[in-house]
C-alpha cells in the first residue's frame, strides 16, 4: 500500500447520484475497485533478490494476468511460467536455489504475450550467472561449460577435428586458411553440424547445395569455435565473451562479404550479441540465404518427395528474429511435398527444449517435467498426420529423432531442410 494513504472504509462512503470528475462521468455504485486491497502482505525479499540484479528488474513488473502461463511450453509438461515464478518468490521460494532456475529454455513465448514485458530472456541469464559464479549448477550443464571452455565446443570433441566432417561431403569445402583469398560467403558451420553425426549430415548436404549453386564460400575449420550464445543464456556469460572475442578475432583474419550460418542460435549470436563486442559483418541464416538463390535452386529440385511434411519453427529463428517465411518457401519449392502446419506454429511455435542451455539439461529437465518438450512436439507432429518433421536448427534433429523413438512414433522422419533439398537434388 502506498505510504500515507488512509484505508477507505466502505461504510463511511456516501454515494453521489451523479458525479462528473474532470469531465468524466464516474456515476455508479461503489465497488471494490475503489478500495485498497491487501496485496502487499508478502515478504518481498526473494523477489528483490532477483529484481536487484541488472537484467532481473522486470520480474517485479508482473501483475499476475497469466497470459504467459497459457503459452509457456514448460507449463504443458510441468508447472511453470513467469507468473508462477513471480508468485513463488512471494511464498518463500528462492529462485537462485530452486530447480525452476534451470527449466526455462528462453523460448520467448511468454515475452511475446506479456503486457508488462516481463523478460525471461534477461531474467534467467542474470540469475543463472550468480548461480554459475558460486558453482551451484546442474552437473550436466557444468560439463557442457567445461567442454566448451576446454575444446571450443560443448560436445567435448577435439578442436583439431572440427573440419573432419567435410571429408565425406563429396564436394570441395574450402578452408579459409588454405584458400588465402577473399570469399563471398564465410560459412560458419557450428558445433553440432561439425561434430554430431546427424548434424554432419546437414552440413554435408549444405556443402553439396552451395557447390551446386556455385557459391564462392569458405569455412574457418579448426579456427572456428562455438558461438557460446546458449552458454550465455545458461548463465556462463564469461565463457560467451571469451568465445566471442576468439571468434571475432578469427573472422577478422579473413575477407568476406557476408556470413551464412547453419543454426538459428548462431544467427542470433552474430546478429544481436556479437556487435556488442565489436563484430561488424552481415549475417544470414541459411534458409534466407537459399531463398535468395531460389530461382537457381528450384530447377535443380527434380526428385519429388511425396510426403506430408510439417515444419518446426526454431525459437531463435522465429520468435527471436522474426523469420517464419524462408524455411517454408524452401519446403514449398520441393516437388511433391505437402506442407501441413501444426497447431502451435509460427509466432506460437512450440519449443524443442534445446534453447537457453536446455540442450545440456536433458536429465535435469526430465526429472522436473512429465515429458520432454521434444517428445510433446513429435506427438503434435504425429497428431497432424505428418510423415516428416522438417527442422532448420542443428539442435533439433537429434532431439526429435530420440523423441520420436521414445514416444513410439518411429515412423516420423526427422530431417533438416538442407537434407530434404539435397535429397530432392539427387538424380
Amino acid at each position: 500500500m502506498a505510504v500515507g494513504l488512509d484505508k477507505v472504509r466502505p461504510d463511511k462512503v456516501t454515494e453521489e447520484k451523479h458525479l462528473v470528475v474532470e469531465g468524466m462521468d464516474i456515476s455508479g455504485h461503489w465497488n471494490r475497485m475503489f478500495e485498497q486491497r491487501v496485496i502487499w502482505d508478502y515478504d518481498v525479499d526473494n523477489l528483490e533478490k532477483v529484481t536487484n540484479l541488472p537484467g532481473g528488474e522486470s520480474l517485479g513488473w508482473c501483475y499476475g494476468c497469466a497470459k504467459c502461463t497459457a503459452v509457456c511450453p514448460i507449463d504443458i509438461v510441468g508447472d511453470y511460467s513467469p507468473r508462477k515464478i513471480h508468485r513463488k518468490t512471494q511464498i518463500g521460494v528462492d529462485l537462485f536455489t530452486s530447480s525452476d532456475l534451470w527449466l526455462c529454455t528462453t523460448c520467448m513465448n511468454c515475452l511475446r504475450v506479456c503486457p508488462k514485458e516481463v523478460n525471461m530472456i534477461q531474467i534467467m541469464p542474470a540469475v543463472r550467472e550468480q548461480a554459475v559464479l558460486t558453482g551451484a549448477v546442474p552437473p550436466e550443464l557444468q560439463k557442457a561449460f567445461e567442454d566448451t571452455a576446454k575444446h571450443g565446443n560443448p560436445l567435448g570433441q577435439p578442436q583439431r577435428k572440427r573440419a573432419d566432417w567435410a571429408k565425406a561431403a563429396g564436394v570441395p569445402v574450402p578452408i579459409m586458411k588454405d584458400l588465402k583469398r577473399a570469399v563471398d560467403i564465410l560459412w560458419y558451420v557450428g558445433s553440432y553440424p561439425a561434430y554430431h553425426p546427424r548434424g554432419m549430415d546437414a552440413a554435408r548436404a549444405a556443402a553439396r547445395i552451395f557447390n551446386a549453386l556455385g557459391i564462392d564460400f569458405g569455412i574457418l575449420g579448426i579456427e572456428e569455435k562455438d558461438d557460446g550464445d546458449s552458454q550465455r543464456l545458461a548463465g556462463e556469460k564469461g565463457l560467451f565473451e571469451m568465445l566471442a572475442e576468439q571468434n571475432i578475432a578469427a573472422f577478422g583474419k579473413y575477407e568476406f562479404n557476408r556470413m551464412v550460418v547453419t543454426g538459428p542460435h548462431e544467427f542470433n549470436a552474430f546478429k544481436n550479441e556479437y556487435p556488442k563486442y565489436g563484430a561488424d559483418f552481415k549475417v544470414a541464416h541459411y534458409t534466407r540465404f537459399l531463398v535468395e538463390h531460389l530461382d537457381k535452386l528450384r530447377p535443380m529440385l527434380k526428385k519429388p518427395i511425396n510426403l506430408k511434411v510439417t515444419f518446426h519453427d526454431p525459437c531463435y529463428l522465429g520468435r527471436h528474429n522474426g523469420e517464419y517465411e524462408a524455411p517454408r518457401e524452401l519446403l514449398r519449392a520441393i516437388p511433391g511435398i505437402e506442407l501441413v502446419e501444426m497447431g502451435r506454429c509460427r509466432e506460437n511455435g512450440y519449443c524443442c527444449g534445446g534453447g537457453g542451455g536446455g540442450m545440456w539439461l536433458d536429465s535435469f529437465t526430465k526429472e522436473h517435467t512429465t515429458m520432454r518438450l521434444s517428445e510433446r512436439r513429435v506427438r503434435e507432429a504425429a497428431e497432424y498426420g505428418a510423415e516428416v518433421l522438417a527442422v532448420c536448427c542443428p539442435f533439433e534433429v537429434s532431439r526429435f529423432e530420440d523423441a520420436a523413438k521414445s514416444t513410439g512414433n518411429d515412423k516420423l522422419i526427422v530431417r533438416d531442410i538442407l537434407e530434404l533439398l539435397d535429397e530432392s537434388m539427387k538424380e
Binding site: E129, V132, G135, F145, K150, R160, G235, G238
Partner: protein
C-alpha cells in the same frame, strides 16, 4: 598453513602436434599452451587441503609463454589466494631442470609448509620438477599421490602403487608432494569468475635467474611411423557391415 603450488604450461594435446625444423622437439610457436593436467589436480588438492585445515594457497609458475596469467587467474578463481609469476628469458618448452631450479629459488622465500605439484607433465614426461624442487629445498618428497590430509604439523599422504595397492605415509612438514590425482575431480572455474578476477587480481613478479641446463637432450623427435596400414571404411552401418562380412569371407575366416 602455507601451501605453494608450482605449475607449468604445456602444449595442448588436443591440437595437432608439430615437430620443429631440426626434428629435435615440438614446434612450440605453432602450439597452444594449456595448464598441465596434473597441476590442475595439484591446485584442487591444495584448495581442498586449505578448505579442510585452513591456510593460504599460493600458485606460482615460470612464464614461458607470456600467457601464464590466464592459468594463474583460473587458479585464483578456483580458490587459490595468491599468485606469482617468475619472469625472465625462458622460452616455451624450457626444460624441467631449469624450471625446478627457478621455482625452488622462488619458493624458498615463501617458506612453505606444503608444496603440491603435478607428479609429471605430458610434455617431457620426466616427472622431475617435484623431486628436484624437494632436493633444492632439502625437503622430503612423495610422488604419485592421490590424497593429502594435514594434521598437527604432519601430512598423511596416500600413494598409489601398481596393482591397486595403496600406501599411507605420515610425513613431517614441510614437504613436497607430486600429485597424481586430487581426491576430488578438479572443480570448474566459471569463465565469468576468471574474467572478473583477471580485472582485479594482483600477480607478484619474481625475477628468475639464469637457466640451469637440461638434464637430458632429445636427439630426435618424430611422429609414430606406421608399420602396417589400416583401411578406413566410410558409409552407413549396413554398408560397412556388408564390407566386414565380405572381408571375413574373403580371408577364409568362416568355417563350413
Amino acid at each position: 598453513m602455507n601451501i605453494v603450488v608450482p605449475i607449468k604450461q604445456i602444449p595442448n594435446l588436443t591440437d595437432e602436434l608439430e615437430i620443429n625444423g631440426d626434428g629435435t622437439g615440438l614446434d612450440h610457436d605453432a602450439l597452444q599452451y594449456v595448464l598441465n593436467e596434473f597441476d590442475e589436480h595439484a591446485i584442487e588438492e591444495a584448495v581442498l587441503a586449505k578448505e579442510a585445515a585452513g591456510g593460504t594457497v599460493t600458485v606460482i609458475g615460470v612464464d614461458t609463454t607470456g600467457e601464464l596469467d590466464g592459468a594463474l587467474h583460473t587458479a585464483l578463481a578456483k580458490g587459490a589466494d595468491k599468485a606469482a609469476r617468475i619472469t625472465g628469458d625462458f622460452p616455451r618448452g624450457t626444460d624441467s631442470h631449469t624450471q625446478a631450479k627457478l621455482l625452488a629459488n622462488a619458493i624458498r622465500s615463501l617458506s612453505p609448509d606444503l608444496v603440491l605439484t603435478g607428479v609429471q607433465a605430458a610434455d617431457d614426461r620426466d616427472g622431475q620438477i617435484g623431486p628436484m624442487i624437494a632436493a633444492h629445498l632439502g625437503l622430503p618428497y612423495v610422488g604419485v599421490v592421490t590424497g593429502v590430509a594435514v594434521k598437527d604439523g604432519k601430512a598423511i599422504v596416500h600413494k598409489e602403487y601398481a596393482g591397486g595397492l595403496m600406501g599411507e605415509f605420515e610425513v613431517s612438514l614441510p614437504m613436497v608432494v607430486g600429485v597424481q590425482a586430487a581426491h576430488q575431480p578438479p572443480r570448474y572455474a566459471p569463465v565469468s569468475k576468471v574474467r572478473q578476477i583477471a580485472k582485479t587480481a594482483k600477480i607478484d613478479e619474481i625475477a628468475g635467474d639464469e637457466a640451469a641446463g637440461a638434464g637430458s637432450t632429445v636427439r630426435r623427435m618424430f611422429k609414430p611411423e606406421a608399420a602396417g596400414h589400416a583401411e578406413m571404411w566410410e558409409g552407413g552401418p549396413e554398408e560397412v557391415a556388408e564390407k566386414i562380412a565380405a572381408l571375413i569371407k574373403e580371408k577364409g575366416l568362416l568355417k563350413g
